[in-house]
Amino acid sequence: MTETMLKVENLAVDFSTPAGNLRAVDGVSLELAEGETYAIVGESGSGKSVFSRTLINLLAGNGKREGSIEIGGRDIDTLSKSEAKHFFGVDVAMVFQDPMTSLNPVKRIDAQLMEAMRYHLKVSKSEARERAIALLKQVHIPSPEQRMRQYPHELSGGMRQRVVIAMALACEPRLLIADEPTTALDVTVQKSILDLLDELRIERKMSMILITHDLGVARGRADRIGVMYAGRLMEVGKTDDLFADMRHPYTQALLQSIPNPAKRSHTRLQPIPGRPPNLLDPPQGCAFAARCRHAQPDCLNAKPVLEGTSGGSDDHRWACFHPVGTPDGDAALKANLEAGANAGGMSMKEIVGELV
C-alpha cells in the first residue's frame, strides 16, 4: 500500500453567527493515499468549500475547527508559524472556482508566478522565469513567453484557470485541493482542464481533493468519492463500488435527479423534493430524513454513522439505518409506500414520483 497523504479525523467546523451557531462541517474523517484523487460531491451549501478551506487552514474569522488534520504525516497544528508559511502554498496548494479570485488583476502573469516561487523556494530571478515558462508549457498554454507578459483579463476563462493551476503547481505541492475548478467553464474547456489535472497528478504522483457538485465529473475523474450532505459524509467508497452498489438513499436520489445522456429524451427526472436542513437549527436525527424515501421513525432520533465494508482500500461505507439494496432498506421503502409518506411526513408521491 502506498503512503497516506492526507488524514482527516473527526473534522468539525462551527461558525458563530448573529443567528446562532452554525455547524458547516460535522465529523468528517477521510484518508487519501499518495497519487489518489478523492472527490467530494454535494449540493450547494453542503459544506464542501468550508471543508476544503479548512484543510489549508483558511478558516473565516468566526469559524472554529475541531478534529485533526494530518498532511504527509504532519499534524498541521504542530506547525510553527514560519513552517506554516512554507507549508500551505508549497506542500499543499489550492485552486478555486473563480480564477480571478487568485489572480492579481493589475500584475502580469509572469510576475505573479515568479513571486510565489522566489518567496517559497528562494530561487534566483532567472531560474524562476525559466521555471515559470516550463510550468505554463506544462499546463498547455501556447507560446508561454508571450502569454507571460499579459494581464489576467487578457486571457480567456480557460486560460486563466490554467494559469491558476500553474501557480498552484509552482512549488511542487504533494497535495492539490481543487474547489470546483471547472464550474464556471464550458464543457469542452472543463474537459481539457480536468485532463490536465489528471495528467499532472500522474506525472508528479500528486494527490488531489476534487470538490464538485457534478456527480458526472466525480465519476469520470476520482478514485474515490465522498458524498457530502449538510456537512456530513453520507457515503464514501471507490468510485466503481459506489456507482455499482449504491447504498445511501441520498446518493441514489442525487443520481436520479440529474439527466442521464444515455437515456432517451423526455425521460422523466426525479427531483429531490424539499430543501436541505437549516444548519442553524439542524435536525436531531439523520439530516436527510425529511426528504428520504426510506426514512423510518428511528431516523428522526439518532444520527447514523459511517459503516459498511470497512478496511483499507476496499473501504465502502455509508451512514444510513436503512440502506438501499438491503432487506431492511427494501422493507422501509415498502412500508413508506404503503403509508403514503415517509417518517418525516413528506408524501411518497413527491419523493419517488413515477419511479416505483
Partner: protein, 325 residues
C-alpha cells in the same frame, strides 16, 4: 456560405416560426462582432427545439433576435404568415404576448420591489384577461407552477432560486403564449432543483400546448428536454437532428467534441479534446468556422463554407467531411 443553408427547414403546415438567414452583428469600437451569421431554424407546434453550444456561440442572440430583441441585422422571421422583422415597433408590441421568455438568472429576472402576484398578473394588466387566465384564476396558475398562492404578497427575495424560476414560468404562461424561449433556465440552479424545473417545463408544455426553444450549454439537459436539437458554433449552425438521433449518431466534428466532453458519461464517440482557443468573433475564420480546431479539417474547409445538407432522414449537418457510420 459555410455552416449555412436552409435544407433543414420543414414545409409542413404546423410550422409556427420560421427563421431564415438571420444575421446579427454588433458594431463595437475596432470592428464588428459577428454574433449570428446566417442561421435558419424553424419550430413546429408543440415542439421543443434545443440549442446547444459553447459560451459566446450566439445562442441567446439567436433566440432573442427571433423575437426582435433586438431586431436582427438581416434575415426574416415568419410567424402566422407575417415577416415580423418588417413590423413597426407598435405592431411588434401587439404580438409580443405570443412569444414569452424565461431567463437564466432567476433572481435578477424578477423586479425586487414588486410582489409575486403583481409580477405574475402583469401581463394581464397590460393585455387584459384572456381565454385561459383571468385575474381571479391567478391563484390556480400559481398552484400549477408549484407556488403556494398564500405567498402571493411576498417579494422575490423571500423565495429560493428554484421558486423564482417557477414565478418566471407563471409570468410567461399567463399570456397564453405560443412560444416560450427558455434561455438557460436551469444553469443557475442546484442539481436537485434543476430536475424540478425541467419537469415543470415538460408538464406545462403538455398542459398548455406551448412550443419551447430551450437554450443550454449542458448537453444532457438539452437531450432530456428537446425533440429536436440545433448545435451552434461561432454564430453558425453545425448540426440539426432529432434529440435521440443526434446523440446516437453525431456526425459533425464539433458535436462529437461536445459529446466527448460530457463528464462521466458513456457516450458513443471516441475520446477527444478540442485543441486551441475559440477564434475571435470579430474576425471569424474563413471557410468552415470550426476549421482551426477540427481534427478533420482540410484545405477545402479553410476556403469553402459547408452548406447544410441531409445526411440521414431528418438529420442535417453542415460539414464537408461528416462522420457517417
Amino acid at each position: 456560405m459555410a455552416g449555412s443553408g436552409t435544407a433543414h427547414l420543414r414545409e409542413s403546415d404546423d410550422v409556427l416560426v420560421r427563421v431564415e438567414h438571420m444575421v446579427v452583428e454588433f458594431p463595437i469600437s475596432g470592428g464588428t462582432v459577428h454574433a449570428v451569421s446566417d442561421v435558419s431554424f424553424d419550430l413546429v407546434e408543440g415542439e421543443t427545439l434545443g440549442i446547444v453550444g459553447e459560451s459566446g456561440c450566439g445562442k441567446s442572440t439567436t433566440a432573442r433576435a427571433a423575437i426582435q430583441l433586438p431586431k436582427p441585422t438581416s434575415g426574416s422571421v415568419w410567424f402566422k404568415g407575417l415577416d415580423i422583422t418588417k413590423l413597426s415597433k407598435e405592431q411588434m408590441r401587439q404580438i409580443r404576448p405570443e412569444f414569452q421568455m424565461i431567463f437564466q438568472d432567476p433572481i435578477s429576472s424578477l423586479n425586487p420591489r414588486r410582489t409575486v402576484t403583481e409580477i405574475i398578473s402583469d401581463g394581464l394588466k397590460v393585455w387584459g384577461e384572456n381565454d385561459s387566465w383571468t385575474l381571479d384564476t391567478i391563484d390556480e396558475l400559481m398552484e400549477a407552477v408549484g407556488i403556494d398562492p398564500r405567498y402571493g404578497e411576498r417579494k422575490p427575495h423571500q423565495f429560493s432560486g428554484g421558486q423564482c424560476q417557477r414565478i418566471s414560468i407563471a409570468r410567461a404562461l399567463v399570456l397564453d403564449p405560443k412560444v416560450i424561449i427558455c434561455d438557460e433556465p436551469v444553469s443557475a440552479l442546484d442539481v436537485s432543483v434543476q430536475a424540478q424545473i425541467l419537469n415543470l417545463l415538460e408538464d406545462m408544455k403538455a398542459r398548455y400546448g406551448v412550443s419551447l426553444v430551450f437554450i443550454s450549454h449542458d448537453l444532457s439537459v438539452v437531450k432530456n428536454i428537446s425533440d429536436r436539437v440545433m448545435v451552434m458554433y461561432m454564430g453558425k449552425t453545425c448540426e440539426v437532428a432529432g434529440s435521440d438521433d443526434l446523440f446516437e449518431k453525431p456526425t459533425h466534428h464539433y458535436t462529437r467534441a461536445l459529446m466527448a466532453a460530457i463528464p462521466g458519461a458513456d457516450v458513443v464517440v471516441e475520446d477527444q479534446t478540442l485543441e486551441g482557443e475559440l477564434p475571435s468573433a470579430i474576425n471569424p475564420p474563413a471557410g468552415c468556422r470550426f476549421n482551426s480546431r477540427c481534427p478533420a479539417a482540410t484545405d477545402e474547409c479553410r476556403s469553402i463554407e459547408p452548406q447544410i445538407r441531409e445526411v440521414a432522414p431528418n438529420h442535417f449537418v453542415a460539414c464537408h467531411h461528416p462522420v457517417l457510420t
